[in-house]
């Protein structure tokens, strides 16, 4: 009785509150006293459908040593009493830009002709590993880990062929500790270079055929030359073509950013034409092409991003034809929204194995969006597979990651309740044997703590490679939360401000603009000093530096 009451009480508290997590015990200058940990009295979900109800996970030297109901804990182990907690294999993200900063905008030199640009201006750099661009101190890596990810495959940013993937373990401070595997895949997109060939999807597809066939011939030429160069024309030095050799022999997979079903059809057409080993990634809308995906045999990484919930305005009066027409259109938007939320379930029941990709999703949304997918028919086991075993297999690391088994990397997620429940929170993440502990504190949803730094009207200027724009940011506190709007001289209609988050002087928020019926989001992060602000706008069209001043009249 008492217990039931307690549960109800907790439920009420939790329902009214939003959980926020904060890393408190990051690895600092001092090395931990031990690298042996015993997670005791914990429910061990070794793999989807494989559960030890009460047991111990012993890890040491970055590896899982023992998993079981009765494990002898060595004296040098730090014991973690995880009573009533749950441990899972550390989540694996199939594709992201974590730790890969956006490149600076560059002005194309006048002598670079649009018809014959050098590779670097054509967006073709398949020989460059993501490692080269990695900033191990980038906060996006920490955000991934806070969501439970312990491994991610990162790729360079760019256009047609931005470079090669690197698989990272989300622990450690420098590349030497983080890099698990370099050259894990070749990353490609159907997006063209700006103003030079290939500038469009048709250009990219033509260039793919051209490069691939060139590489196929050049590979044979190079091999012949290597075996006996006497009397033979020397092959050109061309690192771009050479980096495609393993693609032509199916030793290196090609991972395509294929957000929509149209992208998927186009990429599969290329694959059928050329025959490379394919992974379709960052899929936001793939269900219309599901059977084709299945028969292509491609690896599948769905985006866990979901569109904003579409709603029907039930207060609308249905008097005029116009009202009825609007209601019918709203209904279609809601039906379309449901297609997105049930995509993962459709793929799962259709027998297509998939992992997830963070490329265009926010790690902080992972749990929330997974719960929506589960509400719409995805089983918890299938969701867990998509976070662990499936991406491990797509990335080719099943032998070292993806399950809680002795001998695997010590990558673990420990949660306070079953992960797939509303009230669960992540208490520990182990990555490569390093422990990260999170302080779980309940914070009121309507908290506007420290809001006074940002509330008000700000005039700002945003500068990017394309020139300057200006506008007004207005943020108000209506007691229930922070909201507002932002104008910009390059966008006809003001955007709505949401997701305002404040940490001292650091403020971030999201602005949703609508242009020609399409929404796009701008992420703003600024540092506020009394009456001035300085920071950055991240837009789909590139980054801009922002400086603003408080409007003295408001």
């Amino acid at each position: 009785m008492l217990k039931a009451k307690k549960v109800v009480y907790q439920f009420l508290v939790l329902a009214a509150l939003m959980l926020t997590i904060e890393a408190v015990a990051q690895r600092d200058e001092m090395a931990p006293v031990t690298d042996t940990y015993a997670i005791k009295n914990v429910t061990i979900v070794q793999a989807p459908g494989r559960v030890i109800p009460m047991g111990t996970v012993l890890i040491s030297n970055g590896l899982i040593k023992q998993v079981g109901a009765s494990v002898t804990i060595p004296s040098n182990a730090k014991v973690i009493d995880a009573d009533s907690m749950f441990v899972y294999a550390g989540f694996i993200d199939g594709l992201s830009y974590a730790g890969i900063p956006r490149p600076e905008e560059r002005q194309r030199p006048r002598d670079v002709l649009s018809m014959a640009p050098p590779y670097e201006w054509a967006g073709i750099q398949p020989h460059l590993p993501a490692t080269q661009f990695l900033d191990p101190s980038d906060k996006s890596l920490v955000q991934m880990r806070e969501a439970g990810f312990t491994i991610t495959q990162v790729v360079p940013r760019g256009q047609m062929l931005p470079g090669q993937g690197t698989i990272l373990v989300l622990s450690g401070e420098d590349k030497s500790e983080m890099v698990l595997r370099e050259g894990s895949t070749l990353f490609s997109q159907l997006s063209g270079a700006r103003g030079v060939f290939p500038a469009t999807t048709i250009g990219v597809m033509a260039k793919w055929r051209d490069l691939y066939r060139n590489a196929s011939y050049a590979r044979i030429h190079s091999a012949n030359y290597a075996s006996n160069p006497a009397g033979m024309e020397r092959p050109d030095y061309d690192p771009v073509i050479e980096s495609l050799f393993p693609v032509t022999t199916n030793q290196l997979s090609v991972t395509f950013d294929a957000k929509s079903d149209l992208d998927i059809h186009r990429v599969i057409a290329l694959q059928k034409d050329l025959g490379f080993k394919l992974v379709l990634a960052n899929i936001e809308k793939g269900w219309p092409a599901m059977s084709k995906i299945k028969s292509s045999g491609a690896g599948v990484l769905l985006s866990y991003d979901l569109p904003k919930e579409a709603k029907i305005d039930s207060s609308r009066e249905m008097e005029t034809d116009r009202d009825k027409e609007i209601a019918a259109l709203e209904k279609k938007n809601v039906e379309a929204y449901m297609q997105y939320t049930s995509q993962a379930a459709k793929f799962s029941s259709g027998g297509v194995k998939f992992g997830f990709s963070s490329m265009s999703a926010k790690p902080a949304d992972l749990k929330k969006n997974l719960m929506i997918m589960i509400e719409n028919g995805l089983s918890e086991d299938a969701a867990l597979s998509a976070l662990t075993t499936n991406p491990a297999s797509i990335l080719g690391i099943s032998n070292i990651a993806g399950t809680v088994d002795a001998g695997k990397m010590a990558n673990l997620v420990v949660t306070t309740k079953p992960y797939f429940s509303e009230e669960s929170a992540i208490k520990y993440v182990f990555a490569d044997g390093d422990m990260y502990e999170f302080d779980i504190k309940a914070k009121s949803e309507s908290s506007t703590e420290g809001a006074e730094v940002i509330v008000g009207t700000w005039n700002y200027t945003a500068s990017s490679g394309d020139g300057d724009s200006e506008g007004v940011i207005t943020i108000t506190n209506d007691g229930g939360g922070l909201s507002g709007s932002m104008t910009n001289s390059q966008v006809p209609v003001p955007g709505d401000i949401s997701d305002v988050s404040i940490s001292g002087k650091e403020v971030s928020f999201v602005v949703t603009f609508n242009m020609d019926g399409q929404n796009f989001e701008v992420e703003a992060s600024v540092t506020v000093e009394k009456n001035t602000m300085e920071g950055e706008l991240i837009t789909p069209f590139g980054n801009a530096a922002l400086t603003g001043e408080k409007d003295p009249n408001n």
Binding site: A206, D210, N228, M232, R266, K292
Partner: protein, 450 residues
Amino acid sequence: MKKIKNSIIVLLCLVTTIVVGQPKGDVVIKGGTVLTVTNGTLENTDVYIKDGKIQRIAENIKAPSGVKVIDASGLYVMPGIIDAHSHLGISTVNEATSPITADVWTGDVINPYSVGMYWALAGGVTSIHAMHGSANVIGGQNETMKLRWGQTDPEAFRMQGAPRTIKFALGENPTRVHGRGNGVNPSTRMGVEFVIRDGFNKAIEYKKAWAEYEASKKKNPRAVPPKYNLRLQTLVDILDGKILIHCHSYRADEILMLTRVAKDFGIKNLTFQHANEAFKVAPELAEFGAGASVFADWWAYKFEVYYSTAYNATILTRNGVRTSINSDSGELIRHLYHEAAKTQRYGDLSDDEALALITINPALQLGVGDRIGSIEKGKDGDIAIFKNHPLSVYTVPQYTLVDGVVYFDINNDPDDMRVNINPEESIEPVILDENHERCMQDTEWIFNNK
């Protein structure tokens, strides 16, 4: 017994190549006035389409049980309209980065969600030639499509087996984009001719280099192949007659220029698109065997299009030039029958001659005249049915069928025919995404980046 039946089904599946999303229908269209275009007009005649093909054209055909019947009594039944110049149904129109982009192909970016295709069906159109734009001298390859609206797989829209075609462009567009926009050849009409000749000459060398490699490879397995080049390979395919040329052009002098270039390089199959001044060189075009695909009465939207006449299509037809009337527009495509009818107002063409401009003639220009463009036994069941004669100003499209399947029915025509819905799309304001003239789409950056 069941087992035998199953194995028969399996066998049937093996021998019939079924293309995903290209359903074939059975239907009898009863009692209409059938405008065959190639065999005159047949009053009170039935058309039986079986498995997507026209099976019989006769009076009083008894519909086999279970086969759909369309009552066309009092209606006009004509071949589905074919638009030889459209930019609907594709996501990209121009790869405007080079004076020659023969390697790109609009068929790579078929967009099943382009709602303009449904609007075209509502105007009796069943096939379109989805063309690359006119930014480049030798532009990209085009795609001949059937409007199987509602399908989501781009493959469903391809007209299987249609010959490859490619877009060329003369005059102001390529000189503006490349000469004035990018400071490279061509900036004049002379430069345009040079770009074509230079491209073909390089293609000849390229072909020769590969032929030599293939020959020497037989003796020497270590022979070094030439550098593969998809752009030059495509030009070789044009020279080998594997790709039909459709050339954006206006002025008579440049039209003659291209026929001379074609003669020099042994190219036989040429269709001039727009060709507003083609009437001035109609006998020369007839002698060459070139086609012309023109507007009924659209001109003066730029300098090289001032010298124009609504008699263009008639003069060309009377001189024996294979002529079609096209739209190049998401709006004009919805009433190509009116566009064809204008040749009767301005040139007294007969009904069959006027209808041929939007049916059999464009079909022949696209190399598919043996399959579509007229109501004949054995041809595809692509049909448009009208109330009142399609050349009358009072005509109203009623049904449009592709391969015997109804894709437009005026009595079942919901307001919102979009197939792809973005749940985040705002409901207001409404933005129509089909523009009037899209020939220069995707080239804006050239002019904005100065």
